[in-house]
Symmetry: C2
Subunit: 338 residues, 2 copies
């Protein structure tokens, strides 16, 4: 229908979404409209040690609070979206066993939350989405990827995750777990990854692993300004800062990091022929120090015809990306079913 608002619902129909974001560090909830603008939000510590039951109970309370704070009538909420670490089964709405959520094993989260919100949301649909896929959908709909049909989103933080948009739709795969870009091997017989494979991008270039590699060099006795810090204080941010200041150890770690990330992004361009590769996550806070060499190396390594069509940029959505991702995922699923 011409003139209908975006998001798949007809003009006048319930246009708001409750977005829930379940992470290993924090739980977040928010209410957003069809323009992706977050009307109310709240973030609380995840406290994963309490296990799924207590966490779900706190998440439901959080959802109720942001719903009340938004001023939106529950009748105007079309659906609830949940962004959660994988592996999941998004079709059946089951959280399989995310590495960042100990004790969450085969939790039927969608039916659980449908029940728990039944009094206010009248069993309106609840959709579960892999957190990185949800973030990709958020950047595609509301961020750096607006108007782009084919993009790859890569989040570089504690771990490395990703989401792929092909012809304006997220690539789900058989059960919604596609785009585990952190676990493509860039070194088939190289460094071990806790996932059981070798040479995984995440096990080298995530924030945690940038710091680990710097600590290993320090422990090996290489001189560095970072040796003034306690081992725990050596973070990816500190490594980046020391590299900017010209510290040789930090420069070596950083150069290796962008080399491997650049090779990975180059492969991603050859695999997906995207218009954009969008880098998000905490490690991208350093900006040009990361994006410039990764872009240069990736575009050099990709096929020239595909490199000419592609660019590598920083994500636009900030700390709200979890909530906006959950919202975008629910909007996409509603549109699919319209």
């Amino acid at each position: 229908m011409s003139g209908a608002p975006p998001g798949g619902s007809a003009a006048g129909a319930a246009p708001f979404i409750l977005g829930l974001d379940i992470g290993g560090t924090k739980l977040a909830a928010g209410v957003a409209g069809e323009d992706g603008r977050v009307l109310s939000r709240e973030v609380i510590p995840a406290r994963t040690e309490e296990g799924p039951e207590a966490m779900i109970a706190r998440l439901v309370e959080l959802g109720r609070r942001v719903l009340a704070a938004s001023g939106v009538s529950p009748a105007a909420i079309a659906a609830t979206g949940i962004s959660c670490g994988g592996p999941l089964d998004i079709r059946d709405g089951i959280v399989r066993e995310p590495t960042n959520l100990p004790g969450w094993i085969d939790i039927p989260l969608v039916s659980r939350l449908t029940d728990d919100f039944a009094d206010v949301l009248e069993r309106k649909p609840v959709y579960l989405e892999n957190d990185a896929n949800a973030a990709a959908m958020a950047e595609h709909r509301y961020g750096a990827g607006r108007g782009v049909r084919n993009l790859v989103y890569l989040t570089i933080s504690t771990g490395i995750g990703g989401g792929v948009i092909v012809s304006d739709r997220v690539v789900e795969g058989e059960s919604g777990n596609a785009a585990e870009i952190g676990h493509m091997s860039l070194c088939h017989d190289g460094w071990a990854c806790p996932c059981g494979s070798r040479g995984c991008l995440e096990a080298f270039a995530s924030g945690t692993n940038i710091a680990r590699r710097a600590r290993e060099r320090l422990a090996g006795g290489q001189p560095s300004s970072l040796s003034a810090l306690s081992p725990e204080a050596v973070t990816a941010r500190e490594v980046a800062a020391a590299a900017r200041a010209g510290d040789p150890l930090a420069c070596a770690v950083w150069d290796e990091t962008v080399a491997v990330l650049g090779a990975g992004v180059g492969s991603i361009i050859n695999l997906f022929n995207p218009r954009l590769v969008i880098l998000g996550g905490g490690v991208t806070a350093v900006g040009d120090q990361l994006i410039e060499p990764v872009r240069r190396i990736a575009l050099e390594r990709a096929f020239s015809s595909m490199a000419a069509e592609a660019d590598v940029v920083i994500a636009e959505l900030g700390t709200d990306i979890g909530i906006v991702g959950a919202v975008a995922a629910a909007q996409a699923r509603l549109a699919e079913q319209a």
Copy 2:
């Protein structure tokens, strides 16, 4: 419409496709119906040294001959499909500069063939598709991937190419060149690839490169039953045969090959969460000697949740895959536009 034949056209409408396959070694043409059965086919040497003009002229003659031999009235031909090596621009119908077709630079093949067949086919649509994507579409529609929504097709022959089907549609990317799986890096700082990158799957595990690696070991003086052959006679097939007979040099080359292929397929499973990875191309003629170790290594290296949903199998379509791929690509494009 219930009861309509597959392929996107209504019952009674023109249900046949002229399929053309342009390779570096041979040109092929065939006519197929909506069930993918090839009614007539002909294959001639490509003779790429003659350049695009002469090749296109011979391809048009070939198309006319298979059309006549098929017994199908030109009025019953709905479209022409072309399978060709990339890079291409499939939307504009332009062959950019395939590595296997010297001298083919920015050839507007779709408009060219629309004109050249105008007298018999009345300017009915002509569709261009990347050869590996076309083969993936053929296996999805008529081969090992029938009924599977998410699959990855990998062809291992002179080079390594691929095609990805997500939710029953081929992943094209911005210009139809996605799924260059042969150019994902499995060794970010490793072996050089003619494409300019390093560690590319193709530059290690294609038929040509299996043979090259064996020849390099022979030249280095390692004893082997293969040293009885002239260097040119050392092919991937001979390496596989010698490995089956227990030759240590050939076994080492073969073990490295399946290790790298297994790592690559494992990454592919993590990236696409497919139901099937289908291996085709000349090197797969050895059957279990290739597929068994590649399956085992790939499923070991992939995330267990995704490995549990995936299998690695051999392609079903044989030497007709180029023609059937061109046909399947045209059928998909017709259905898109219906």
